[in-house]
Symmetry: C2
Subunit: 138 residues, 2 copies
DNA sequence: TTAAACTGTAACATAAATTATTACAGTAAC
DNA sequence: GTTACTGTAATAATTTATGTTACAGTTTAA
Protein backbone atom coordinates (compact mmCIF):
# COMPACT_ATOMS: atom_id res chain seq x y z
CA UNK A 1 0.00 0.00 0.00
CA UNK A 2 2.84 2.36 0.76
CA UNK A 3 4.22 1.75 -2.73
CA UNK A 4 1.23 1.57 -4.98
CA UNK A 5 3.03 1.95 -8.29
CA UNK A 6 6.30 0.78 -9.79
CA UNK A 7 8.22 4.03 -9.76
CA UNK A 8 10.01 3.47 -6.49
CA UNK A 9 10.80 -0.12 -7.45
CA UNK A 10 12.21 1.09 -10.74
CA UNK A 11 14.33 3.76 -9.09
CA UNK A 12 15.76 1.32 -6.57
CA UNK A 13 16.49 -1.14 -9.32
CA UNK A 14 18.34 1.48 -11.34
CA UNK A 15 20.34 2.62 -8.34
CA UNK A 16 21.31 -0.91 -7.41
CA UNK A 17 22.44 -1.62 -10.96
CA UNK A 18 24.54 1.51 -10.93
CA UNK A 19 25.92 0.55 -7.54
CA UNK A 20 27.02 -2.86 -8.76
CA UNK A 21 28.82 -1.18 -11.64
CA UNK A 22 30.24 1.70 -9.70
CA UNK A 23 33.87 0.61 -10.25
CA UNK A 24 33.42 0.20 -13.98
CA UNK A 25 34.86 2.56 -16.56
CA UNK A 26 31.70 2.45 -18.63
CA UNK A 27 28.55 4.42 -18.18
CA UNK A 28 25.35 2.38 -18.15
CA UNK A 29 22.97 3.10 -21.00
CA UNK A 30 19.25 3.43 -20.62
CA UNK A 31 18.85 0.53 -23.05
CA UNK A 32 20.90 -1.74 -20.85
CA UNK A 33 19.07 -0.66 -17.71
CA UNK A 34 15.73 -1.06 -19.45
CA UNK A 35 16.65 -4.65 -20.26
CA UNK A 36 17.26 -5.46 -16.62
CA UNK A 37 14.27 -3.62 -15.18
CA UNK A 38 11.88 -4.80 -17.88
CA UNK A 39 10.60 -1.41 -18.98
CA UNK A 40 11.08 0.89 -21.92
CA UNK A 41 14.30 2.87 -22.26
CA UNK A 42 12.37 6.13 -22.34
CA UNK A 43 10.85 5.23 -18.99
CA UNK A 44 14.31 4.65 -17.62
CA UNK A 45 15.45 8.04 -18.81
CA UNK A 46 12.38 9.64 -17.25
CA UNK A 47 13.13 8.01 -13.90
CA UNK A 48 16.79 8.86 -14.14
CA UNK A 49 15.82 12.49 -14.44
CA UNK A 50 14.51 12.30 -10.88
CA UNK A 51 17.70 10.69 -9.66
CA UNK A 52 19.75 13.40 -11.33
CA UNK A 53 17.65 16.12 -9.76
CA UNK A 54 18.19 14.48 -6.40
CA UNK A 55 21.92 14.46 -7.02
CA UNK A 56 22.25 10.70 -6.81
CA UNK A 57 23.56 10.07 -10.29
CA UNK A 58 25.34 11.87 -13.09
CA UNK A 59 24.83 11.32 -16.79
CA UNK A 60 26.78 11.92 -19.94
CA UNK A 61 25.30 12.60 -23.35
CA UNK A 62 26.62 11.43 -26.68
CA UNK A 63 28.39 8.31 -27.82
CA UNK A 64 29.67 6.11 -24.97
CA UNK A 65 27.49 8.17 -22.68
CA UNK A 66 25.12 6.90 -20.04
CA UNK A 67 24.64 7.09 -16.30
CA UNK A 68 26.84 6.63 -13.27
CA UNK A 69 26.18 6.65 -9.56
CA UNK A 70 27.88 9.50 -7.73
CA UNK A 71 31.20 8.48 -6.20
CA UNK A 72 31.68 7.77 -2.46
CA UNK A 73 27.98 7.54 -1.71
CA UNK A 74 26.64 5.42 1.09
CA UNK A 75 23.18 5.93 -0.38
CA UNK A 76 20.07 4.84 1.51
CA UNK A 77 16.56 4.20 0.22
CA UNK A 78 15.12 7.30 1.87
CA UNK A 79 17.08 9.39 -0.60
CA UNK A 80 15.56 7.43 -3.45
CA UNK A 81 12.10 7.69 -1.93
CA UNK A 82 12.47 11.44 -1.65
CA UNK A 83 13.78 11.70 -5.20
CA UNK A 84 10.52 10.16 -6.29
CA UNK A 85 8.06 11.84 -4.00
CA UNK A 86 9.12 15.43 -4.10
CA UNK A 87 6.75 16.68 -6.77
CA UNK A 88 3.56 14.85 -5.83
CA UNK A 89 0.74 16.18 -3.69
CA UNK A 90 -1.75 14.38 -1.52
CA UNK A 91 -5.37 14.33 -2.59
CA UNK A 92 -8.34 14.83 -0.33
CA UNK A 93 -12.06 14.39 -0.63
CA UNK A 94 -14.16 17.38 -1.40
CA UNK A 95 -15.83 17.26 1.98
CA UNK A 96 -18.84 19.19 3.19
CA UNK A 97 -17.65 22.16 5.29
CA UNK A 98 -21.04 22.48 6.96
CA UNK A 99 -20.46 19.17 8.68
CA UNK A 100 -18.22 19.13 11.76
CA UNK A 101 -16.30 16.16 10.46
CA UNK A 102 -16.28 17.30 6.85
CA UNK A 103 -14.92 20.68 7.92
CA UNK A 104 -11.98 19.26 9.83
CA UNK A 105 -11.04 15.91 8.40
CA UNK A 106 -8.68 17.03 5.69
CA UNK A 107 -6.50 19.02 8.05
CA UNK A 108 -6.42 16.13 10.47
CA UNK A 109 -5.44 13.74 7.70
CA UNK A 110 -2.73 16.08 6.51
CA UNK A 111 -1.02 15.85 9.89
CA UNK A 112 -1.38 12.10 9.95
CA UNK A 113 0.07 11.73 6.48
CA UNK A 114 3.06 13.82 7.42
CA UNK A 115 3.70 11.59 10.37
CA UNK A 116 3.40 8.31 8.48
CA UNK A 117 5.61 9.65 5.72
CA UNK A 118 8.21 10.51 8.30
CA UNK A 119 8.09 6.99 9.71
CA UNK A 120 8.52 5.52 6.26
CA UNK A 121 11.46 7.78 5.55
CA UNK A 122 13.13 6.90 8.83
CA UNK A 123 12.65 3.24 8.09
CA UNK A 124 14.10 3.58 4.62
CA UNK A 125 17.08 5.52 5.92
CA UNK A 126 18.28 2.35 7.57
CA UNK A 127 18.52 0.47 4.29
CA UNK A 128 21.67 1.15 2.27
CA UNK A 129 22.42 0.11 -1.27
CA UNK A 130 25.52 -1.60 0.08
CA UNK A 131 23.47 -3.91 2.25
CA UNK A 132 21.05 -4.66 -0.57
CA UNK A 133 24.05 -5.44 -2.74
CA UNK A 134 25.29 -7.96 -0.20
CA UNK A 135 21.92 -9.66 -0.26
CA UNK A 136 21.82 -10.23 -4.00
CA UNK A 137 21.62 -13.87 -4.95
CA UNK A 138 25.00 -14.94 -6.26
CA UNK B 1 2.74 9.04 -1.06
CA UNK B 2 1.73 6.48 1.53
CA UNK B 3 -1.91 7.24 0.79
CA UNK B 4 -2.08 7.66 -2.92
CA UNK B 5 -5.85 7.45 -3.32
CA UNK B 6 -8.89 8.57 -1.38
CA UNK B 7 -10.04 5.25 0.00
CA UNK B 8 -8.30 5.54 3.35
CA UNK B 9 -9.44 9.14 3.73
CA UNK B 10 -12.99 8.08 2.97
CA UNK B 11 -12.87 5.22 5.45
CA UNK B 12 -11.53 7.44 8.22
CA UNK B 13 -14.16 10.03 7.46
CA UNK B 14 -16.93 7.47 7.68
CA UNK B 15 -15.60 6.07 10.93
CA UNK B 16 -15.27 9.49 12.49
CA UNK B 17 -18.82 10.37 11.49
CA UNK B 18 -20.05 7.15 13.04
CA UNK B 19 -18.00 7.86 16.12
CA UNK B 20 -19.54 11.28 16.60
CA UNK B 21 -22.98 9.70 16.35
CA UNK B 22 -22.24 6.66 18.42
CA UNK B 23 -24.69 7.64 21.20
CA UNK B 24 -27.52 8.26 18.76
CA UNK B 25 -30.52 6.01 18.35
CA UNK B 26 -30.49 6.38 14.60
CA UNK B 27 -28.39 4.51 12.11
CA UNK B 28 -26.52 6.67 9.62
CA UNK B 29 -27.56 6.22 6.02
CA UNK B 30 -25.17 6.02 3.11
CA UNK B 31 -26.90 9.06 1.65
CA UNK B 32 -26.17 11.12 4.73
CA UNK B 33 -22.57 9.95 4.88
CA UNK B 34 -22.13 10.58 1.17
CA UNK B 35 -23.22 14.16 1.74
CA UNK B 36 -20.51 14.74 4.31
CA UNK B 37 -17.71 12.95 2.51
CA UNK B 38 -18.58 14.36 -0.88
CA UNK B 39 -18.86 11.12 -2.78
CA UNK B 40 -21.63 8.98 -4.17
CA UNK B 41 -23.75 6.88 -1.84
CA UNK B 42 -22.83 3.72 -3.70
CA UNK B 43 -19.19 4.49 -3.05
CA UNK B 44 -19.96 4.84 0.62
CA UNK B 45 -21.64 1.47 0.66
CA UNK B 46 -18.66 -0.04 -1.15
CA UNK B 47 -16.30 1.33 1.49
CA UNK B 48 -18.56 0.34 4.32
CA UNK B 49 -18.37 -3.22 3.11
CA UNK B 50 -14.67 -3.20 4.03
CA UNK B 51 -15.43 -1.80 7.46
CA UNK B 52 -18.01 -4.49 8.04
CA UNK B 53 -15.61 -7.21 7.00
CA UNK B 54 -13.09 -5.79 9.44
CA UNK B 55 -15.71 -5.89 12.19
CA UNK B 56 -15.59 -2.15 12.82
CA UNK B 57 -19.22 -1.37 12.01
CA UNK B 58 -22.56 -3.09 11.80
CA UNK B 59 -25.31 -2.31 9.36
CA UNK B 60 -29.03 -2.79 9.18
CA UNK B 61 -31.04 -3.20 6.00
CA UNK B 62 -34.50 -1.88 5.33
CA UNK B 63 -36.35 1.21 6.36
CA UNK B 64 -34.66 3.17 9.15
CA UNK B 65 -31.61 1.07 8.49
CA UNK B 66 -28.06 2.30 8.08
CA UNK B 67 -24.70 1.89 9.75
CA UNK B 68 -23.41 2.08 13.29
CA UNK B 69 -19.97 1.88 14.81
CA UNK B 70 -19.47 -1.13 17.05
CA UNK B 71 -20.06 -0.35 20.71
CA UNK B 72 -17.22 0.12 23.23
CA UNK B 73 -14.49 0.42 20.62
CA UNK B 74 -11.37 2.45 21.20
CA UNK B 75 -10.67 2.18 17.50
CA UNK B 76 -7.35 3.28 16.05
CA UNK B 77 -6.44 4.14 12.49
CA UNK B 78 -4.36 1.01 12.00
CA UNK B 79 -7.54 -1.01 12.09
CA UNK B 80 -8.99 1.17 9.37
CA UNK B 81 -5.80 0.96 7.35
CA UNK B 82 -5.88 -2.81 7.57
CA UNK B 83 -9.54 -2.91 6.64
CA UNK B 84 -8.58 -1.19 3.43
CA UNK B 85 -5.35 -2.89 2.58
CA UNK B 86 -6.15 -6.50 3.22
CA UNK B 87 -7.14 -7.47 -0.30
CA UNK B 88 -4.53 -5.60 -2.31
CA UNK B 89 -1.25 -6.98 -3.57
CA UNK B 90 1.97 -5.23 -4.30
CA UNK B 91 3.09 -4.98 -7.90
CA UNK B 92 6.60 -5.55 -9.13
CA UNK B 93 8.45 -4.99 -12.36
CA UNK B 94 8.86 -7.88 -14.70
CA UNK B 95 12.59 -7.94 -14.20
CA UNK B 96 15.20 -9.86 -16.13
CA UNK B 97 16.14 -12.99 -14.14
CA UNK B 98 19.41 -13.36 -16.04
CA UNK B 99 20.66 -10.18 -14.41
CA UNK B 100 21.96 -10.41 -10.83
CA UNK B 101 19.93 -7.40 -9.79
CA UNK B 102 16.88 -8.31 -11.84
CA UNK B 103 16.86 -11.78 -10.34
CA UNK B 104 16.86 -10.57 -6.74
CA UNK B 105 15.30 -7.15 -6.57
CA UNK B 106 11.69 -8.15 -6.19
CA UNK B 107 12.35 -10.35 -3.19
CA UNK B 108 14.43 -7.63 -1.60
CA UNK B 109 11.69 -5.07 -2.18
CA UNK B 110 9.08 -7.40 -0.76
CA UNK B 111 10.95 -7.46 2.55
CA UNK B 112 11.35 -3.72 2.51
CA UNK B 113 7.67 -3.15 1.83
CA UNK B 114 6.71 -5.40 4.70
CA UNK B 115 8.90 -3.40 6.99
CA UNK B 116 7.60 0.01 5.91
CA UNK B 117 4.05 -1.23 6.13
CA UNK B 118 4.73 -2.32 9.66
CA UNK B 119 6.06 1.11 10.56
CA UNK B 120 3.00 2.76 9.11
CA UNK B 121 0.72 0.44 11.01
CA UNK B 122 2.53 1.06 14.26
CA UNK B 123 2.30 4.77 13.70
CA UNK B 124 -1.42 4.60 12.95
CA UNK B 125 -2.05 2.47 16.01
CA UNK B 126 -1.27 5.48 18.14
CA UNK B 127 -4.06 7.53 16.61
CA UNK B 128 -7.51 6.85 18.05
CA UNK B 129 -10.85 8.06 16.77
CA UNK B 130 -11.42 9.57 20.20
CA UNK B 131 -8.41 11.84 19.86
CA UNK B 132 -9.36 12.85 16.33
CA UNK B 133 -12.81 13.62 17.66
CA UNK B 134 -11.35 15.93 20.26
CA UNK B 135 -9.44 17.76 17.54
CA UNK B 136 -12.48 18.56 15.43
CA UNK B 137 -13.06 22.26 14.98
CA UNK B 138 -16.01 23.22 17.12
C1' DT C 1 -50.49 -5.61 2.80
C1' DT C 2 -48.52 -2.24 0.69
C1' DA C 3 -45.67 1.89 0.23
C1' DA C 4 -41.51 3.90 1.68
C1' DA C 5 -36.77 3.88 2.93
C1' DC C 6 -33.14 1.61 3.39
C1' DT C 7 -28.78 -1.89 2.21
C1' DG C 8 -26.17 -4.79 -0.94
C1' DT C 9 -24.42 -5.42 -5.10
C1' DA C 10 -23.69 -5.60 -10.00
C1' DA C 11 -22.90 -3.51 -14.29
C1' DC C 12 -21.24 -0.04 -16.58
C1' DA C 13 -19.21 4.79 -17.53
C1' DT C 14 -15.91 8.23 -16.80
C1' DA C 15 -11.76 10.13 -15.17
C1' DA C 16 -7.20 10.04 -13.65
C1' DA C 17 -2.79 8.07 -13.16
C1' DT C 18 0.64 5.09 -14.77
C1' DT C 19 3.26 3.00 -18.13
C1' DA C 20 4.58 2.16 -22.98
C1' DT C 21 5.91 3.69 -27.45
C1' DT C 22 7.72 6.46 -30.98
C1' DA C 23 10.26 10.04 -32.62
C1' DC C 24 13.72 13.23 -33.01
C1' DA C 25 16.83 17.20 -31.75
C1' DG C 26 21.11 17.72 -29.50
C1' DT C 27 25.67 16.04 -28.04
C1' DA C 28 30.03 13.62 -27.83
C1' DA C 29 33.27 10.16 -29.57
C1' DC C 30 35.83 8.27 -33.00
C1' DG D 1 30.24 12.82 -40.84
C1' DT D 2 28.59 8.66 -38.82
C1' DT D 3 27.44 6.33 -34.80
C1' DA D 4 25.66 5.88 -30.23
C1' DC D 5 24.10 7.98 -26.83
C1' DT D 6 20.80 11.45 -23.66
C1' DG D 7 16.86 14.50 -23.09
C1' DT D 8 12.45 15.31 -23.91
C1' DA D 9 7.99 15.78 -26.02
C1' DA D 10 3.88 13.92 -27.82
C1' DT D 11 0.83 10.57 -27.76
C1' DA D 12 -1.24 5.88 -27.05
C1' DA D 13 -2.48 2.12 -24.24
C1' DT D 14 -3.41 0.21 -19.98
C1' DT D 15 -4.72 0.08 -15.34
C1' DT D 16 -6.80 1.86 -11.34
C1' DA D 17 -9.95 4.77 -9.05
C1' DT D 18 -14.16 6.89 -8.85
C1' DG D 19 -18.87 7.95 -10.28
C1' DT D 20 -23.43 6.59 -11.75
C1' DT D 21 -27.48 3.98 -12.38
C1' DA D 22 -30.34 0.40 -11.41
C1' DC D 23 -32.65 -2.90 -8.97
C1' DA D 24 -33.47 -7.04 -5.95
C1' DG D 25 -34.03 -7.85 -1.19
C1' DT D 26 -35.08 -6.26 3.62
C1' DT D 27 -37.40 -3.88 7.23
C1' DT D 28 -40.64 -0.58 9.08
C1' DA D 29 -44.85 1.23 9.82
C1' DA D 30 -49.22 3.23 8.29
Amino acid sequence: MVFSNLEFATLVHIMLLLYTEKESEDWLTSDYIAGSVGVNAAVVRREIKKLKQAGLVVSKEGKNGGVKIIPDSEIDLAKIYLANVSDKEEKYNNTNPKCAVGGSINELLEEIYQQTDLEVIQSLQKIKLSSMYKNLKK
